[in-house]
Symmetry: C2
Subunit: 107 residues, 2 copies
């Protein structure tokens, strides 16, 4: 069973704070590279490299328009992270309590 980079390395992709910040930005909607880069102190190539890491794990997609490239969030691979983390969720109870109460009353 082969594991593709896109499916295995999502955890590595979100390990970098800059890449998480980029994803956070993209929640506002798709944006061209220059606009994505603006809030960061690093060079444009650095951002471009981060974007290709995100692209490889399919956390973002690209759309060309003229000489601009719009990057758009694709959060679906984060489900992997969510699923993994949820195994530990019994340890911060609040949310589960609400859901638990609901399920108890609606079997």
């Amino acid at each position: 069973m082969s594991r593709t980079a896109s499916s295995t390395d999502v955890f590595a992709a979100i390990a970098d704070p800059t890449r998480r910040a980029i994803l956070d930005l993209l929640r506002q909607g798709e944006q061209p590279v220059k606009q994505i880069a603006q809030p960061f102190k690093m060079s444009l190539p650095a951002i471009s490299q981060h974007l290709s890491v995100l692209c490889e794990v399919e956390l973002v997609t690209q759309r060309k328009k003229g000489r601009q490239r719009f990057y758009r969030l694709n959060p679906e691979p984060l489900k992997q992270v969510s699923d993994w983390v949820n195994h530990y969720e019994q340890f911060w109870q609040e949310k589960l309590d609400i859901l638990g109460d609901y399920l108890e009353d609606n079997p």
Copy 2:
């Protein structure tokens, strides 16, 4: 406002698949190092090093008993990851739908 390593680097700590596997193991309860190391192909020092990374971000705690050291899961720092990922959760709707329905009926 200083950011401690333990609060900032949880994402980096769980980026490594071996460390995630260790955490998964520890869900069964606390275990001594040798037992933790058993399923892995790498050396004991390698596992020991992974355990200290997990220790630094407080994802595990230590308890000494005789010459053994029992490591125990402390999943609380994962809340950080959970919180971050939840911002993207609107994209895989099922769970939120259940909770949403509940909140709608119980305002």
